[in-house]
């Protein structure tokens, strides 16, 4: 078909819009001056400042721990939920269940944060647990919304799944549980990996929910960044952002390459 | 079951190219996709009211050629003329050509009526005229009661008819059909073949049909263009293609054929004699062939053109008889197919009509039999 000029131009502008602010942020992270937007010479001093800021480092370490824990809990819960939704065609409360699983995806963060905080406060009053708020409550909150994301990812992989593979395994004498671990799990493994990674990044990224359910002394990295940014520009945030963007870009790049390699070439007819 | 010619022989336009102007003229058209040459230097003339079939395997370039006629692809070189006008650079929406897609490409969000009316609306026809034309087309394809339905509420055969009606709605001069019967099951396909021919004859539109199904091509076509690896291997009426193939490819692609290699030993204007070690005998051909003495060539013969017998038949020139052992018999009801292993090891297939019911004396496995054929039953092929 004949191609117009409109689409390529619109798409290029769109990508420029997406990337220009990020690129400028990366460039200015190497700026000598503490004015974030006026170039005055190349320097890596803000990176140095970053690594000598104990508050920032502590928050980063806390965030990584929370993200790993929350993603792992979400992986288990989300996979179970996905199996139930894809495989159990009919059960009592299915609609309610599927709504509960997918609602956190679109629930505004402020509502999720507030509701969990109020729950934790009420629970503490009634049951004496959780005592105060901190890492545990943040992990619970993050695991809850990450479950929804994991479930979506695993669900799409499971519905593409060729059921006859499992039937073959059972025909050859494997029990349903055995079949799940021998056949199903290896095949959906890529979805599990991407589900976990998605949960990990989302947890690492969350500011609003964590602000509600965290307690004194448990400030996550986004909370520290937010307080810095709110007070004004700070070039060390640029440096931090550059590091995070670099790690994420490498990760996504690696994942994409892996995915492209493992995917069999589709034959175009 | 070749299509009966509707026209007296002297008016079949392709037989008198001097006095008839072709309706579609494809000249030296090539199409490259990257490094792949999909269509290579094709020249083809198609005449008004023809039902021309492009026949070929997958990757033969037949669909690409059709898409160039529709305007979805631009030829890398060469020109396409339709009704005397150069169409090479005309976009699809401005061509007097419509296409019926293999997948039917019915718009899923529109009803049957809206699908058929789509092209007419784009032409800005008055509403009343569109309604009348849609009704007329629905009647033509016998779907009067289905106008309000959506495509997904129709059966495969009904969808196929909607696609045909939609393509015919604008009264195109030329209708392109991409595997029009490909998605139908066998029984429906046979019925629909005749419907299609009837509609084509009654409207007098020129059809170009792409198909990989030779039976379909034989049934539908006035002429067939056999395509192979981007080139036209042969153009001819169905009987020409079957009985007088011009190459080993056409002979083996259409129907089934026994093919042997041989060397010319006698080359006279009235006959040739070919010695074939594979066949274990000489082949006497009762017409001249453009060849040289001692030339290596091929001879092809259809299974039904040969006769099996227990006694050795005599031949005036001491040729056209060989013998072998019956290896396999496939009973197909109307005919039986025999596979005979010649002494050279070459296997020949011969079909015999089962004219006697439950014949107890039929030739059976492991019997030595003689195979013979008439002097002009086979085709001599030099390429």
């Amino acid at each position: 078909m004949r191609r117009g000029w409109f689409l390529p131009i619109a798409a290029s502008l769109g990508f420029a819009f997406l990337y220009a602010p990020i690129v400028s942020l990366v460039i200015f992270s190497f700026n000598e001056s503490s004015l974030v937007t006026v170039w005055s010479g190349f320097s890596t001093k803000w990176y140095g400042a970053l690594f000598s800021d104990p508050q920032l480092l502590g928050a980063a370490w806390l965030s990584l721990q929370i993200a790993a824990l929350a993603a792992s809990i979400a992986l288990v819960l989300g996979t179970l939920a996905a199996v139930a939704l894809v495989r159990f065609r009919r059960f009592r409360g299915r609609t309610l269940f599927s709504g509960m699983v997918s609602a956190p995806l679109v629930m505004p963060d402020v509502i999720t944060g507030l509701s969990l905080l109020l729950l934790f406060v009420a629970m503490e009053g009634l049951l004496g647990w959780p005592q105060g708020r901190g890492m545990v409550t943040i992990v619970i909150a993050h695991a809850t919304f990450c479950t929804a994301y994991v479930c979506v990812v695993v669900q799409s992989r499971l519905s593409d799944f060729d059921r006859s593979l499992e039937e073959a395994a059972m025909d050859l004498g494997a029990s349903p549980v055995r079949t799940f671990f021998d056949i199903t799990l290896p095949i959906i493994a890529p979805a599990l990996v991407s589900g976990w990674l998605l949960g990990f990044t989302l947890s690492l990224d969350d500011l609003v929910i964590a602000s509600f359910v965290s307690g004194p002394g448990s400030s996550t990295l986004p909370m520290v960044i937010f307080s810095k940014v709110r007070l004004g520009v700070s070039p060390d945030v640029n440096a931090l952002a550059t590091i995070i963007i670099g790690i994420v870009a490498l990760g996504v790049l690696g994942a994409t390459i892996l995915q492209l390699r493992s995917k069999p070439k589709s034959s175009g007819a | 079951m070749a299509k009966k010619p509707q026209l007296a022989i002297d008016t079949r336009p392709w037989r008198d190219t001097a006095n008839n102007k072709p309706f579609v003229r494809i000249r030296n058209v090539s199409k490259k996709f990257g490094d792949v040459l999909a269509v290579h230097d094709v020249s083809l003339d198609i005449y008004k009211s023809e039902l021309f079939c492009l026949l070929g395997g997958s990757g033969s370039g037949k669909s690409t050629l059709l898409r160039m006629l529709a305007g979805f692809e631009t030829p890398t070189s060469g020109t396409i003329e339709i009704d005397g006008q150069d169409m090479t650079e005309v976009p699809p929406y401005a061509r007097p050509v419509n296409m019926m897609f293999q997948s039917y490409a019915l718009f899923p969000h529109m009803s049957v009526e809206q699908n058929i009316a789509y092209g007419l609306k784009r032409d800005g026809l008055p509403k009343a005229e569109i309604a009348a034309r849609v009704a007329e087309l629905l009647a033509l394809v016998k779907l009067q009661d289905y106008g309000k339905r959506k495509p997904h509420q129709l059966s495969g055969g009904q969808r196929q008819r909607v696609a045909l009606a939609r393509a015919l709605a604008k009264r195109p001069k030329l209708l392109l059909l991409d595997e029009p019967l490909g998605a139908l099951d066998k029984k429906l396909r046979e019925e629909t073949q005749f419907e299609l021919v009837k509609i084509q004859e009654s409207l007098g539109v020129t059809f170009i049909v792409v198909t990989h199904d030779q039976e379909e091509a034989m049934t539908l076509a006035t002429r067939i263009g056999v395509m192979n690896q981007g080139e036209i291997a042969m153009v001819g009426e169905p009987t020409d293609i079957y009985e007088f193939p011009n190459s080993r490819f056409v002979a083996s692609f259409i129907g089934s054929a026994n093919m042997v290699e041989g060397i010319v030993t006698e080359d006279e204007p009235g006959h040739v004699r070919i010695r074939s070690a594979e066949l274990g005998c000489d082949i006497y051909v009762a017409h001249g062939v453009d060849c040289a003495p001692d030339q290596l060539l091929w001879w092809a013969i259809r299974p039904e053109k040969m006769v099996l017998s227990r006694e050795k038949p005599t031949h005036p020139h001491g040729a056209n008889v060989t013998s072998g052992i019956v290896e396999e018999i496939a009973y197909l009801g109307d005919i039986s197919l025999y596979q005979v292993a010649l002494d050279s090891g070459k296997r020949i297939r011969v079909s015999q009509t089962n004219s006697v019911r439950g014949n107890p004396d039929a030739i059976t496995w492991e019997e030595r039999v003689y195979i013979s054929w008439g002097d002009s039953s086979g085709s001599v092929l030099t390429v």
Binding site: V110, A143, T147, D205, G268 | R122
Partner: protein
């Protein structure tokens, strides 16, 4: 190759502990299904559904000093349990101009941003869907990549771009154009929402567009439709589920957005997420914040239902 087996040695007994466990559980009436469902159901019940009920309950109390900072819903008086429901928070929501204005302004900002995101995202999604196979994955990755980098940092990147002496104004300065005031305006909030939520718009649009059979476009052209007509009559209606899904995925979170209005918006940029935040953290009026949340939930319920339906249509086909 065959493996000879000594016939005198009995074949090894296969241990199938799972089979035994399953049989045992089945006897007590517990099926595998129940086991699979138990954990996610319990978790979501306790940490998703009940919290919403708690929010609703607390929205019916009033602020008081102490721990917790709200009046108890249930009180025991002389052995009888008493339920005290107070609707003053909701009455306040409807009578105080601040709240009404915040809701309306949130809806307006979210709606305008959604439309802009659609206008920016549609051509991009279309271009990606029509790109050659090997480019498509790269483009998709480029769309998703910013989504994985921190949301907060992307908003921050925008502040560097739009501030008074930011990149855009420095660029305009090269042409002698005086600096534009972009930060702390509604404009900056629109840009922020479009910028951060663009991937959510592009992905569902792409999913519907890439599934469309190209022969439909060819059929349309073949029937005489110019490209613009093919777009209007074929492409656009067929991509409607993607448009709805993408728009809702932007609109719903934008309604409750807090970070963007507080970093990019001005003091007069009223958004309900910000009001809730301030009510909770600054005024520590938990019951009022809860009422604001319940009202916000009511606002997003219809879009969420629209989204569910559209997503079904995007995934199916």
């Amino acid at each position: 190759m065959t493996i000879a087996r000594d016939p005198t040695i009995p074949p090894p007994r296969r241990l199938k502990p799972w089979n035994a466990v399953e049989r045992g559980l089945a006897k007590v009436g517990i099926t595998g299904r129940m086991l699979v469902l138990a954990a996610p159901v319990l978790w979501l019940l306790v940490f998703f559904l009940i919290p919403l009920a708690v929010v609703f309950g607390i929205s019916l109390t009033t602020k008081q000093f102490g721990r917790p900072p709200y009046s108890p819903l249930l009180t025991t008086e002389e052995g009888t349990v008493q339920l005290t429901l107070q609707f003053n928070n909701y009455i306040r929501l409807f009578t105080d101009n601040l709240y009404v204005a915040a809701y309306l302004s949130s809806i307006r900002i979210a709606a305008i941003s959604t439309v802009i995101t659609l206008l920016v995202g549609y051509p991009m999604a279309y271009a990606i869907a029509r790109a050659p196979d090997r480019w498509r994955n790269i483009f998709l990755m480029l769309v998703v990549l910013p989504f994985f980098t921190s949301f907060l940092l992307r908003v921050y990147a925008l502040t560097g771009f739009m501030r008074g002496n930011g990149v855009i104004n420095q660029f305009l300065g090269l042409f002698g154009i005086p600096p534009l005031v972009m930060m702390q305006t509604d404009f900056a909030v629109y840009v922020g929402i479009v910028y951060t939520y663009l991937p959510f718009m592009i992905l569902p649009l792409y999913t519907t567009l890439v599934k469309l059979d190209t022969s439909l476009f060819e059929a349309s052209a073949d029937l005489g439709a110019r490209p613009i007509h093919t777009f209007l009559f074929v492409t656009l209606p067929l991509s409607l589920p993607g448009i709805v899904a993408g728009s809702m995925l932007v609109f719903i979170p934008a309604i409750g957005e807090f970070v963007i209005p507080s970093l990019l918006g001005g003091p007069e940029t009223l958004m309900i997420g910000r009001v809730l935040w301030d009510e909770f953290f600054a005024a520590t009026n938990w019951p009022r914040a809860a009422a604001v949340a319940v009202a916000m939930l009511v606002v997003v319920v219809v879009p969420i239902m629209l989204l569910q339906r559209a997503q079904g249509a995007v995934v199916e086909k």
